[in-house]
Symmetry: C2
Subunit: 556 residues, 2 copies
Amino acid sequence: MEKYVIGVDYGTLSGRAVLAEVGTGKEICSSVFEYPHAVMDRTLPTGEALGHDWALQHPRDYLDVLANTIPAVLRKSGVDAGDVIGIGTDFTACTILPVKTDGTPLCFLPEYEHEPHAWVKLWKHHAAQDKANKLNEIAEKRSEKWLRNYGGKISSEWAIPKIWQVLDEAPEIYAAADRFIEAADWIIWQLCGKETRNSCTAGYKEIWNKGTGYPSNEFFKALDPRLEHVVEEKLGTVISPLGDRAGVITAAAARLTGLREGTAVAIGNVDAHVSVPAVGIDGPGKMLAIMGTSTCHIMMGTEEKQVPGMCGVVADGVMPGYFGYEAGQSCVGDHFSWFVENCLPADYREEASRQKKNVHELLSEKAAKLSPGESGLLALDWWNGNRSVLVDVDLTGLMLGMTLHTKPEEMYRALIEATAFGTREIIENYRKNGVPVEEFYAAGGISQKNPLIMQIYADVLNMPVKIAGSDQCPALGSAIFAAVAAGKDAGGYSDVFEAARIMGKIKDKVYTPIPENAAVYDKLFQEYVTLHDYFGRGANDVMKRVKAIKIERSRG
Amino acid sequence: MEKYVIGVDYGTLSGRAVLAEVGTGKEICSSVFEYPHAVMDRTLPTGEALGHDWALQHPRDYLDVLANTIPAVLRKSGVDAGDVIGIGTDFTACTILPVKTDGTPLCFLPEYEHEPHAWVKLWKHHAAQDKANKLNEIAEKRSEKWLRNYGGKISSEWAIPKIWQVLDEAPEIYAAADRFIEAADWIIWQLCGKETRNSCTAGYKEIWNKGTGYPSNEFFKALDPRLEHVVEEKLGTVISPLGDRAGVITAAAARLTGLREGTAVAIGNVDAHVSVPAVGIDGPGKMLAIMGTSTCHIMMGTEEKQVPGMCGVVADGVMPGYFGYEAGQSCVGDHFSWFVENCLPADYREEASRQKKNVHELLSEKAAKLSPGESGLLALDWWNGNRSVLVDVDLTGLMLGMTLHTKPEEMYRALIEATAFGTREIIENYRKNGVPVEEFYAAGGISQKNPLIMQIYADVLNMPVKIAGSDQCPALGSAIFAAVAAGKDAGGYSDVFEAARIMGKIKDKVYTPIPENAAVYDKLFQEYVTLHDYFGRGANDVMKRVKAIKIERSRG
């Protein structure tokens, strides 16, 4: 009797469930639910205005994903809930919320719903930058050893700066919060009725270390005396490794989802990290880039190396027995979306509509006719700051080389190339610091839809680019972890390596570098690096000064 | 009995005649004729393809301007040709063509019409850059004194590099050319039947000096032995000062234009320089910026100072008795046109069309709502290279500060601000080198149409901006010189100072700096200067290297 698993992937704008066959990894069907509240970056649902760089979400949307997509995949597939042996989930991170001891989000309570800090802070909430700066300064001054495990910088996107911002700007919310919890773990709480915390978000986003735990109370006290006991008071100290079973579906969750009570629930996971087994990766040196609005680069290594500017190295952070490395680019697909929304002339839009193409297809076709270097353009891919290797959200975009002959498809291609150069910078930075990168895999929407971008990446990286065999990799990865949570006896797998080899997959088409293109991109990459270092490493902090003027003037 | 004069202004895309009252400067009427062949930058009329950076024109278009516009203004005004006491003209420069001894352009002859070098090279023909580079190198090595009168660099837009390109690439055309002549002087030849050469183009564009003449034959020989006698063989050595009478309308010209045979014809002039009396300027320290697709900055000084990066200092180059200073920005309105053609989203275009506005009006309205610094953007205005103060056509555009929130009107405003910073750089460069700039006047289309741009200039320069009273300044300036060519006895004026005071004019509305804005722009200008020097003065020649790759790849 064939067994099935369900993986649920929580993205930035929607959640997606996939129902897959345990024995093959074959995806039987899927269902998507778009968050009704999407990203709240201007106002709360109750109308209160949000500040600059804020990005919130509504936890009700996460529950609605479960209530809509799981019944949908069961119905579409005709699979009996009794044959579903496990469910796994993955989330954006660090996406974090304050809750009461029973897991109720503060924003669900009428007394807090008007308070922005009571809501979910989405990964791309950037308003805690001053906290991150101060945290890094203090950590450096105190020579905190863990700092070097995060490339020397804690990002404003991560948990401690975000929690500190709550304390500082809304101490009553901080006081009212019994816990701060990753959405990745909160959703597990909703499924199996108990609080768990996974090693991936704890390690990458909350500064937890398998060997040494969280930073010391003294460190937190140095940030702010009121934070001294934040770990015991607001976070959990029991951390579960990836691949564990969190628990089983409760009666309430069974009513919400249509799954059977008692179905295995995998420990929480992160959308990028969970994708690694979905492309069949089962060992070190193989980088997976999950390319969507932003890109995460996940890889395993055999040694714990401290690499400047990466997002983190976490023991067992991806699969047990290896050190998981994470790096990231905070703006990839978002560059292209920004471009078509703000820079695409009417005649291009009309041409696309006449040819019944979407505008990205049209631009890609036109850009594909250009050879590398032919546009004369060079860009820095910093429209949303730089995550790796500079870890600096205050950096901004740059393009140079424009002339009166410059066409839209040339700028579009320059933006693509800039993101590829950014990826190469990350890879070279690993190599320089003793972490080998031998293979490159791409997953995510862009990898599935845009051959031009994949070829440019192959040429810029001068490495073959292997493409995920699934267009819903995180959900498939979550399904793989669900099969591991269910365990061998229930018809699943005993470990994730076995599960990855059987259920993971790549496409037959591999993009191989074209030597002539790679040679031109080698030259342009050197130029990229010079600009990257000039604007990003302090020689000319014009971007920060101009941004400071902007913020001052926007307030005035 | 009221007397009249006609001024004809030859621009980049059209020619315009104005008929004005001598006694008041009042413009009675005008007529425009668009060049049927416009700018030829891809093919000849006979179909031959043109190279990268070429820009040619058709001399027939210039004659058609005379044949169409002069009869039109006579007809529209009802003025009798007998009451028109003079005609003056002005032209883009250096716009130059090879001709036979009788003035016939080589491109009019069937044996040469297929040869690109037989045609008029427009001011913005940039394909002689390698010649300009070599010329500058040789001049520097030989310590040629005249070089410092041109800011230390001869532009590829000027006569000698263009003539040298003809010699090098089409020696048979060079041999067949009896003369190379500025279009400014060629049109006078058509009107009064004899070759003259004016001190303005000779001084600014052909390296002629009132005191010392042209560079030595030895210098030309050092460029190329075949150029040794270029001055005697191909140029003229009799140079007429501005304000002189070139001659009178011939019978043929009378048939072409409808003017009376014997009507006074002013010596040739240049569109920018001729505009100075049209705003009433009659002395030193008052900069006139003629703002259109590009901007020319013309000013007079009492001393001959050698200012790095200006286009030239020429005795009597604007008005007799003063040193004329010229500087320039090769891309101003062209930036904004490029932007609306290549970067303006469909919804903006639709909004403009719904509101029955042109897109520049719409963008300016939206940009006017922003305060200085609020966009967080900073640009270098180099989409068409940099004329002053870097004199480098190989520089290209740059914009930084973009985020995912950046809107089109912010980029549009950043381009405006960049051109204003470019103007300020020119002014500060003059001041640093001992040439006072005390007042600022703006003429040209932009000055008449766009209050936002004028206010930004006032704020960036921190100087009041006075606006030309005529929207056809060069034509009015030409008319003023026509009145001087006619002379007092014929009802005109005895000198251009008197004529300027009576016939020149500015608007009542003066744009005054807003101190708060000026303070923000002071900060941003410092950032502009840092980037200007970093990319423009050799610290990082990335623009040139990327452009070299572009040219190589476009050929491949």
